[in-house]
């Protein structure tokens, strides 16, 4: 039972991932979809950081007298993944700005209606 609750960070990962995916699928507003994508990616970050923690380990900065450090590799992987997420969000938002200019709306249904009537 303790193990069940003690793994709370993995439960947070699952909740965030499902919430993010639900927002992407269920919301028609283009910016809300991007927000959902961000939430989904944030869950991946929490997942990776949970891997890195070692029981009894401190932050991975060299200090005299400390024996156990947390694994620094997942932290570096997360930095890279965050940068990728930022770039994707920036690109997505630029596309939304252009879509707003061309279509006049950022609701997916209205865009669909405009495309169908072409």
């Amino acid at each position: 039972m303790i193990d069940f609750v003690g793994l709370y960070n993995y439960w947070i990962v699952i909740v965030l991932a499902m919430a993010g995916m639900y927002i992407v699928i269920a919301r028609g507003n283009l910016i809300k979809k991007l927000v959902g994508l961000n939430v989904f990616q944030a869950s991946v970050f929490v997942l990776y950081i949970s891997f890195g923690k070692i029981f009894g380990g401190t932050a991975p900065i060299l200090e005299k007298g400390i024996e156990t450090y947390s694994n620094p590799l997942p932290h570096v992987l997360i930095l890279t993944a965050i940068v990728v997420g930022v770039a994707t969000t920036a690109l997505g938002l630029a596309l939304v700005v252009r879509i707003r200019k061309e279509y006049g709306t950022i609701e997916e249904e209205d865009i669909h209606i405009q495309d169908e009537s072409m």
Binding site: A59, L79, I82, V83, A90, L93, A94, V97
Partner: protein, 139 residues
């Protein structure tokens, strides 16, 4: 502009410290948390704060489009250039150990240079993204 007096004064006082902190984070990346990406974002946030308080046009006067574009391209070229320099000096690509006589110094120098390249590119990209979106707002 009188009602923004407090904002303007505090911004002018704070921006040098923000930029200094960004440089601190940049060059202490191998001793503590920090490195190119974080430093680039903090550096850009100083300029973005200036643009938000004083207007995009004033910020554009300091940083014309050409400088930002050169920053983006230059940072990537610096990173790749360090790798090519290692190639020329005899090691594999991005092997920092061959950059100096002692491998440890070489690692130091290599990491410093590439993180600086990353910081430059990230700061330039953040500022370009902000200025591009802010420019949309004006028309």
């Amino acid at each position: 502009m009188k009602e923004y007096l407090v904002l303007r004064v505090i911004t002018k006082l704070l921006i040098p410290f923000i930029l200094l902190f960004a440089l601190y984070v940049q060059f202490h990346g191998d001793f503590g948390p920090g490195g190119g990406f974080q430093a680039g974002v903090i550096f850009a946030s100083g300029f973005i704060l200036y643009a938000m308080v004083f207007g995009v046009r004033a910020a554009r006067r300091i940083l014309p489009v050409g400088i930002l574009r050169a920053g983006i391209a230059g940072g990537v070229l610096l990173y790749a250039g360090v790798g090519v320099a290692s190639l020329i000096l005899g090691g594999n690509y991005l092997d920092y150990g061959v950059l100096e006589h002692h491998p440890k110094d070489g690692q130091h120098l290599g990491i410093l240079l590439i993180e600086f390249g990353v910081g430059t590119t990230v700061a330039s990209v953040m500022m370009t993204v902000f200025f591009t979106f802010a420019a949309w707002r004006e028309d």
